[in-house]
Amino acid sequence: MTSTTTRHTLWAALPLALVAVLVLLPVAMVVAVGWGPDALPVLTAPSTWRVIGYTTFQAALSTIGSLALAMPAAYALYRLRVPGRRMWLAILTIPFILPTVVVGLAFRELLPFPGTTAAIVVAHIFFNVGLSIRVIGSLWGHLDPRLEQVGASLGLNPFTTFRRITLPLLAPAISAAAILVLLFTFTSFGVVLVLGDPALPTIEVDIYTRAMQRLDLTGAAVLALVQFVIVAAAIVVSSIMSDRLAVRQRLGDDEMTRRLPQSPIERVATGYVVVLAVAVAVPMLSLVVRSLRVSDGWGFAWYAEAVSPTEGTTRSVSALSTLTRSLEYAGLATVIAVFLGVIATAGILAARRRGRWLDGAVMLPLGVSAVTVGLGLLLLSVRGPIDLRGWTVLVPLGQALVALPIVVRVLLPVLRSTDPRMRQVAATLGAGPLRAWWAAEGPIAARATAVGAAFAAAVSLGEFGATAFLVRLETPTAPVQIVRLLGRPGEANIGVATALAVLLLLLTVIIVSVAERIRPRRGGGW
């Protein structure tokens, strides 16, 4: 028994080490460059603290806005029987998986106030309101409605009932949603770069401009470290807080607790869902409309221009070619992410309790942000021992590291929840261990892997944070090309950018709908 365990450990150690090295190396590189006496001038500069303060400010506003707008919708969608519920939920969740630069562009063209904090906050709410609804609603739907009826029978009016009973019971979900949205908006990059005020950078944007425009790799690494420390602190605080807020409660079946809207408030909440879904759909539709608006009316001129650009004195990259390249890169990134993700998941499950550190390590790219991954891989080449510049796989590798946490989050709960008894039944029927495993878990594992692959593909396709640091000038991806086009003056550049953004949006939506279709309906997770 012991020898078998040892052999298994050895067998598993090598690929696991590979995963760990790939994930940890970029981060280690950032630490190596950012940690030292050079950090002091950056840390003591007032501008650094202004950037940190502004990042926190916009993230806090975005989080409050997302939660406030999500609450009534979570109530309606998870407590009431709303006609077309699945459709509304799907519409509200789509933004979360859209490429950030596409969303940034959509709002830049839609809002009368681009380049402001308000614009960033609106886009962040657009991104995260669906996520907030799902996180809060998934608990709300399981709250026993009779608790509120008890409140009413004790003489509490609906408002007091909500404040003294519902809200405290929802607190764990609200704080979970809050910390997620806070992390996402704190480390948001593409949206802020496209939509923000250049004189008011966030930490992510400042890391980028320092590294890619101001020849200050050290400063960039210091800021990446600062961000990492803040994110880590936020996660620690939130886990302490969620322990405090945790309520031991028996949860009901959410299908059972939903009922038809009756009271005026319930009808208003139902109507609100429709309004919110429309509000979320508007930026996406307006982007499509914008891409068809040409100087003399309507047409496909920008799409034509995207396919074969007119020649100028500077070399024009065909927008379509960037889309093809994005697809190639995304394909490669998906293969890498799934390969690493399967190894990591197997390792986490095999190591049981000790797998927690690996779980944490794999989640690292989520915490340190895509920009840090990109910066780390860049530093590895410029200041570190391994020169990866110009290597075709560099960009897909960065994208794969960003997508890895999602692959693991999809695989882990599904495989963890496979019933061991199914395996035992298969074994007693005479199948060998491997065949037993396959008979029991094969189909579900295959489906979960396919879902993970689809999400990895969607993430890689729209990935901008890491890619922006790694991509070569002559081989831009579609999101990078969109940002480049926006940096140049002229109506044609914006037109082609919108056309490219629409194509990217469609591809992403298609990939994610496929993932939703094949997704196994159990085990939770993402």
């Binding site: 026993d144 009779r146 608790l147 009826q149 008890v150 409140g151 009413a152 029978s153 004790l154 003489g155 509490l156 009016n157 609906p158 009932t161 003294r164 009973i165 405290p168 019971l169 607190a171 309520v247 031991r248 409660q249 028996r250 009756q262």
Partner: protein
């Protein structure tokens, strides 16, 4: 003297008529047991009286005045479910005090003593046994000083010994408090033991 009067009530469930032509009266200080098999609509009737659900037609009057348009939280009818449904984020004392206008620790202590749980104030609801939790729920309902107590099979989930003991205790509690009550159950002996009058659902709709 009649305090509660339910007349010609019709209740639907998912478009189907569940109960029709229901008539029921409760006198001052009277404990009425409502007997009927599971799924016959007893609980739904109780929920309509409590005000958390609205009947299709008919009327519910308290001391002669209709309460149909009065929301549940202003009717002053206490409701105790089969599950204790204690608020999990509050300790036992806070649960009992939940419906009080202002928290009165002496009354909380008194009520807990009344249900045989003196000194339980600081306990977490999740550490209570089923019987203890149900007694806290009862104390909580009484603390809000209801005009009428609606008990929806409150002992249904408990084992027989405990149930018999609790039935006796609650009966004496209701008598001493002088609160009229409707007690829903599917158990004939429990109905007999706890009430002044036993009615069946069939009789009500007849």
């Amino acid at each position: 003297m009649t305090v509660l009067e339910v007349s010609d009530l019709r209740i639907d469930y998912e478009g189907q008529v569940l109960l029709d032509h229901v008539n029921l009266t409760v006198g001052a200080g009277e404990v009425v047991a409502l007997l009927g098999p599971s799924g016959s609509g007893k609980s739904t009737l109780l929920r309509c009286i409590a005000g958390v659900q609205r009947p299709e037609s008919g009327d519910i009057r308290w001391e002669g005045a209709s309460v149909l348009d009065i929301p549940a939280y202003r009717r002053g009818f206490g409701l105790v479910f089969q599950d204790p449904l204690l608020f999990p984020h509050r300790d036992v004392g806070a649960n009992v005090a939940f419906g009080m206008k202002a928290r009165d620790d002496n009354r909380v202590a008194h009520l807990l003593t009344l249900v045989g749980l003196s000194g339980f104030q600081r306990r977490d609801p999740s550490t209570l046994s089923g019987g203890e939790a149900q007694r806290v729920a009862l104390a909580r309902a009484l603390a809000a000083e209801p005009r009428l107590l609606l008990l929806d099979e409150p002992f249904g989930a408990l084992d027989t010994d405990l149930r018999e003991r609790l039935v006796r205790e609650v009966r004496s509690l209701l008598t001493s408090a002088g609160v009229p009550a409707i007690h829903v159950t599917h158990d004939r002996s429990e109905a007999d033991a706890i009430s002044d009058r036993v009615v069946t659902l069939a009789e009500l709709t007849g």
